[in-house]
């Protein structure tokens, strides 16, 4: 009797979890309808985004960072010769350049797993820590969208709005306040 109840419960769990997974897959596919053919894992689906906002003249990194001129130095240090304008305010106690930028493939980023990721998929790097923002962004709920509510829409990379080195959203000057209602003769 007891074993029967356990079996029913297990079956119900299976059905419920399976259902949730199917729903998840569908959502991801609908979000990335314009993307390349679905990969095996739906979470890794590519999202079409505009090119990353590089500062003038810094990309490709391998122009300077190649094995002949500038071999990779994995020691954590204060940068002085170049890139000293970058002030890291993004968990700076625990991380530095090569935690996101790849030391070998200089024109790429890398995940914690070591997997190399191009700059135009940098959202996968961000998504390692900011998982819930990544999930919302994929669903179209985090971030700015332009286009059609029922069709093609433009996504932006995380770094279009949040500088990866200082991700806090910058303060803005507001547009002028509305005029107070007033009698014309005053």
């Amino acid at each position: 009797m007891l074993s029967c109840a356990v079996a029913v419960w297990a079956a119900w769990l299976l059905v419920r979890d399976g259902g949730a997974r199917v729903a998840d897959t569908v959502r991801h596919q609908s979000v990335t309808a314009s993307a390349s053919p679905p990969a095996a894992a739906p979470v890794q689906l590519r999202v079409e985004v505009p090119p990353p906002p590089f500062s003038e003249g810094v990309f490709p990194c391998s122009e300077c960072h190649n094995e002949v001129d500038l071999p990779s130095n994995p020691t954590r240090r204060q940068l002085v010769d170049a890139h000293d304008e970058i002030v890291l305010k993004h968990d700076e106690e625990h991380r530095w350049c090569l935690d996101c930028h790849d030391g070998k493939n200089r024109d790429q980023l890398h995940l914690a797993s070591g997997e190399v990721v191009p700059f135009d998929e940098s959202y996968r790097v961000c998504g390692q820590c900011h998982g819930e923002k990544y999930r919302d962004w994929r669903a179209g709920v985090h971030g700015r969208r332009i286009g059609h509510w029922n069709g093609a829409k433009q996504y932006l990379l995380c770094v279009h709005c949040h500088s990866p080195h200082q991700p806090k959203f910058k303060a803005l000057a507001p547009q002028p306040a509305p005029r107070r209602p007033m009698r014309p003769d005053r």
Binding site: R27, H142, R144, I146, H148, W149, K153, L172, P174
Partner: protein
């Protein structure tokens, strides 16, 4: 016998003639006279649109198109706004004015951004729409942009004595600017202050008219009528996002079809903490405020 018969037919020639004349005049007035846009026949609407296009193009010196796009079947529009993202920069107000041909002088703005105290929460008695710091967000403040809440149970349409405002099948509450008599009952009924009256002759600089016009939305208004947000009907019925959403630098606004389970709006309703303004009034807004974090 013959005499009796003439006495029983009580309608005299004069009475018959006047009743017939009244009926003819009534028919002419209802069939050829002004019609509410709510019930206007398609062919009459097309004529009216041609007339508007000609008039507006002439007045504002640019080619104007007036759309008569109807509601899409199976669509109920809703907007959601992320209170944890909005930083009160008022870009949406500016974009709305330009998109929807609101009067620059006297100033009419459909969106009003309220600055509120974080300690007090959403409290309309303590809301300040006139904040003007050098930079936003200000410490200790949060911002609640308000506009028409597109209620499913709208008090404004119920009080209109002439039926000049109604809810379209896709959920947008619209106004017929030619039928509105300017009594402002709807403004008194709206608990959100979302309706605005043209106290003076609206002015739009000729070059700044948005020539993408919908007959129920951003037509240039005359003096003495009420206007309000239409979810950018000229854009959303063409599948596009509203102007306030696209301009928002923080991406705080979300928009979509409430009846589509895959839509962004449904994701928010199912996964986020959602707040309605003045929920206790049972107006059932289709404008949701949520916390994205």
């Amino acid at each position: 016998m013959a005499k009796n018969e003439t006495q029983t037919s009580s309608v005299t020639r004069r009475q018959f003639a006047s009743v017939a004349a009244a009926a003819a005049a009534g028919f002419l007035l209802t069939a050829c006279g002004p019609r509410r846009l709510h019930e206007i026949p398609r062919d009459r609407l097309r004529e009216a649109i041609k007339e508007w296009e000609r008039d507006y193009s002439e007045k504002y010196g640019k080619a104007v198109t007036v759309s008569d796009a109807g509601p899409m079947p199976g669509v109920l529009f809703a907007m959601a706004l992320d209170l944890s993202r909005c930083n009160g920069n008022r870009r949406c107000v500016e974009a709305c004015v330009a998109e929807n041909n609101q009067s620059r002088e006297p100033e009419v703005q459909w969106i009003r951004v309220l600055s509120m105290d974080k300690d007090k929460g959403i409290d309309f008695s303590d809301a300040d729409p006139y904040y003007e710091p050098a930079e936003v967000p200000e410490p200790g403040r949060f911002y609640v942009p308000t506009a028409c809440q597109q209620c499913r149970n709208p008090p404004c349409t119920k009080v209109c004595p002439v039926g000049a405002t109604w809810t379209e099948p896709d959920g947008i509450v619209v106004i017929d600017y030619d039928w509105c008599i300017g009594c402002r009952c709807c403004m008194a009924a709206c608990p959100y202050g979302a309706r605005h009256f043209n106290w003076g002759v609206p002015s739009i600089p000729p070059g700044e008219l948005n020539s993408n016009i919908h007959y129920l939305g951003n037509r240039p208004r005359p003096k003495g009528v009420v206007e309000k947000c239409t979810f950018c009907i000229q854009r959303t019925r063409a599948g596009r996002y509203p102007a306030c959403l696209e301009i928002c630098p923080t991406g705080a606004r979300k928009f979509g079809n409430m009846l589509d389970p895959e839509s962004e709006i449904r994701y928010i309703l199912e996964n986020k903490r959602v707040v309605l303004l003045k929920q206790e009034l049972n107006t059932m807004p289709k404008f949701f405020y949520f916390y994205g974090t």
